[in-house]
Subunit: 552 residues, 2 copies
């Protein structure tokens, strides 16, 4: 099967119309029915598959970076009558379990990226629901900060997944209803069992939307509300944005190379060796040069490449169960980048870059792969790049040097700017705080040595790495760990890692991933949904599903 590619450009969009008008941009959904990722289903009624979301993800990213002047983004439909029918059922019928799970994860990340823009970028998303808005369509709307529903006696919002398909809304709908919008749980219960959804005044009263507007006032009212949301923004009123040129990459059978990130796949070990390289030379410290470098500026280029690799491996290399993270290059250049990011934290572009790194690191946390960091001489696990090790399920750090290797022993280094809250996880904590959750003494000891270069033994003693074997043990110890990982059940590993990675508090975001997603995955496996007599198999056949009536 052709590999799924997450790179696209607005010129290539088949499903979205992007209109720019000063402070307000409009993204109108106009799904090309024949534009699906795979043959075998038609994307009718603005229903979507991954191809639609790949474009949405691209549009959200570009709006943030290329258009500082855009302060509000209106999501709407290019069709009258139909806003969006949600995920395409034909696609779901044909998709493997792993694809369904991966698809839901990516769409969830996209919706959270949109909420991240509203919350942190001064670019507020609102949704102008100009027609029937069902399932994943309504979940997309729920991810915006302001929902306006056309009040024409016909348009409704609905989550018909349960009555129609015997599955759950898979992109955060249930959680956002009760946790984000404060919809009462009993109303949410009713709403989620009514296939036809809720319209007009009840939708407003039940907090399912923020406003209802008659057709006669629609355009004006939507524009007025968009302008009002835009007024609060702290983004610049004008300015030059950053364009994203196509990523330079070469994808071979077992080798994926970008400029700063590369990956070698070991199919025997079912492991991907991923290396992230520090800037090759001293990075700029002044804004003018940074703007001038644009997409080539190291942290931005690194985030784009790493993100693309993560998505590629998730979707196209599903049997490669272990990701081995290495870094390479001059730690002082990574530190110089972190210093510049901190110095210009109030600049809108710098803010976007750190938010992008944050989201990319979150993708790592949420990847259903075992992640080991391998910290060796020549590496630069410092500041922003140390997050790669802190995101890992385990880290192995060589204490000392390899025989016949005259490079200095590896050190790691925490920075107060990069490792202490700049890149929070889905649970709202830094990776450092998550790591020491419940052990405040260990946390305090680690915080004492921020900015120090730590050897393997020091890092191990402080709890910043898992193990620090020496040259004699390194090879065996890491090899056994990697081999062992390949021998375990992938499902059990996924469940274990999802449980151990997120100690501490939960947020709406972590609830969506670790709770709603787990339930949805369960339901996606159950005979009532995917069995021969299940809803997904029989949908469209005219036959009624036969349910196993047992409650579990």
């Amino acid at each position: 099967m052709t590999a799924i590619d997450f790179q696209t450009t607005p010129e290539q969009y088949r499903h979205w119309q992007l209109k720019l008008d000063g402070a307000v941009a409009t993204l109108a959904l106009a799904v090309d029915p024949s534009g699906g990722l795979r043959p075998g289903y038609e994307l009718k009624l603005n229903s979507y598959d991954l191809s639609v979301d790949i474009e949405l993800n691209d549009a959200i990213q570009r709006l943030r970076f290329a258009h500082p002047e855009v302060h509000t983004v209106i999501l709407t439909s290019a069709h009258e009558q139909v806003f969006c029918a949600g995920a395409n059922i034909g696609m779901l019928q044909g998709a493997s379990h792993a694809h369904k799970v991966n698809f839901c994860k990516f769409t969830n990340e996209t919706r959270l990226a949109l909420e991240d823009a509203s919350a942190h970028s001064g670019q507020k998303y609102m949704c102008a629901i100009n027609g029937a808005c069902a399932g994943g369509g309504y979940e997309l709307a729920l991810a915006t900060e302001h929902l306006v529903l056309i009040d024409d006696g016909a348009a409704s919002v609905s989550l018909p997944e349960l009555p129609l398909l015997a599955v759950l809304p898979g992109t955060g709908g249930l959680t956002r209803l009760v946790d984000k919008r404060g919809v009462r749980r009993d109303r949410a219960d009713f709403f989620c069992t009514v296939e036809e959804g809720v319209r007009g005044k009840r939708a407003l009263k039940w907090r399912l939307v923020d406003a209802i507007v008659p057709r006669s006032k629609w355009q004006d009212e939507v524009a007025a509300r968009a302008a009002q949301l835009a007024a609060d923004s702290d983004r610049p009123a004008q300015g030059t944005g950053i364009d994203f040129p196509p990523l330079e990459r070469q994808i071979g059978e077992n080798q994926i190379d970008y400029g700063l990130v590369n990956c070698t796949i070991d199919r025997t070990l079912r492991a991907a060796h991923i290396t992230v390289r520090a800037p090759a030379s001293a990075p700029p410290s002044d804004l003018a040069t940074i703007y001038n470098e644009g997409a080539a500026y190291w942290p931005l280029a690194m985030a784009r490449e790493l993100e693309d690799l993560i998505l590629h491996l998730r979707f196209n290399e599903s049997e490669i169960g272990t990701w081995l993270m290495r870094t390479e290059g001059a730690a002082e250049f990574v530190t110089a980048v972190d210093t510049a990011l901190a110095a210009h934290a109030n600049d809108w572009l710098i803010r976007e870059i750190t938010l992008y790194i944050k989201r990319t690191l979150k993708r790592l946390d949420l990847s259903a792969r075992s992640i080991f960091a391998l910290i060796e001489p020549g590496s630069c696990f410092t500041g922003t790049l140390l997050e790669l090790a802190l995101a890992a399920d385990r880290s192995y750090m060589l204490d000392g040097a390899f025989e016949d290797d005259n490079r200095a022993p590896a050190t790691i280094c925490m920075s107060a700017t990069a490792n202490n809250g700049l890149y929070p996880m889905a649970n709202g904590l830094s990776r450092l705080h998550s790591r020491f959750n419940g052990d405040n003494m260990a946390l305090a000891a680690a915080e004492e040595v921020i900015d120090d270069e730590l050897t393997g033994l020091e890092a191990e003693e402080l709890g910043l790495v898992t193990f620090a074997p020496d040259d004699i043990d390194w090879e065996d110890e890491t090899r056994i760990a990697i081999e062992q990982r390949a021998a375990f059940s992938p499902d059990a590993l996924t469940g274990m890692e999802a449980s151990l990675r997120f100690a501490g508090p939960e947020t709406m975001e972590s609830k969506i991933f670790s709770r709603l997603s787990a339930w949805q995955n369960w339901i996606f496996q159950r005979p009532n949904a995917v069995g021969a007599e299940g809803t997904l198999k029989l949908y469209g056949s005219g036959k009624r599903p036969q349910f196993d009536k047992e409650r579990a």
Copy 2:
């Protein structure tokens, strides 16, 4: 198959030895290998099935109520060398998915009941791990507040579920490691992949246990630590406890009758009509009479009966998917009970009674059944019994009276003592707060009318009930809702309800149920665990499982 019965007495225990010695009680696990609930497996090495947990649950309850003088409970093993091998694998191999899920839920509730005793009853649990402590055995230990491990070079703690069985520790182990004990996530990752577990100093250093003690000092040290824990207790040093006589109940084919609770099963609608009755006469207000009534005191008797019914329906009536909750009797007697519970809140027995009601209501929240409250004339949804309606997924309240029924229209009534924090849900919030999560205006409006008797329309307007149909609509509206519920996929309903019931914050407890359990349920369905070539099917056969290597 014989119905599973949750009632037992210490005289009937086959698996636990209870020893009382002043302030310290010892519960020693001595599983009878042939004492399992079903034929076909042997409970070797102190491994357990539900029968072991039914006794543990009974013992925990009785220790709280019958023994005010017990301030510390030591969990240990009656065998040298083996503490507990965890859930019996033969049992898991033969069990249906629904039974496995139900079993895990009940064992989780039992472990939380033990934590509840430590936290709120002045009865601290500690664990004296005197031999190999694996899987569910270690998870049981993790539920205690103090873990002492014998340091004999052999005894270890372990969570071998993933390497051995390709499933997760199912009773909170992963969550308790990182969230309760602050075990670092990377150490937890390592620990959970090492079949043989961790012993001695490393177990201590990694916070897997609180102390290690050599065999020579074992008895003395365990006793000393138990005495120390007991010293902090606020339970009385002596006093008369409450014995639990056998529940009087009659279980017929479609009818289950207790003294205060009864249940009629409608197999066509797959619904259970559950009615809880108020005290038949004015309840006592003074402690002496309450003590004298003992287990017959209304709130205690009601909690015991309701709990037994919940467990019976969960395990023995798995196709009865909807529970319809009604109450009956004099609201003023319910209020009088609530007043007495509040007046004597500092008494250890009254505290136990409210904690028991709390745990029973939590069982309701956690039941994988649709719960509707039907509020009709003659009902008494007030205070403690109003929690039954607030726990429901929906509530229907008749506005006005039925034709030809001269009873007064139903009212409901919130009480500040019972509905505002006395019975928190797993998320730590009252049901009232969970209901209005995110809608502080609605919450404030509801709090204004605490103690008022509210009609159907008033309750609906305030958001305390879902719908308040009148006599004309009642029959159709409730019937359609119940029929509809029976037509939906049971799995999807379970996932939806689990997602909507717990708005707001998460706690360790809610994480265990809504996150870890969902992952475990998923894994319990996957071919790698339960397929023809999966671990559970092949365990003990000498064959190695063949895993689908795809990561999802």
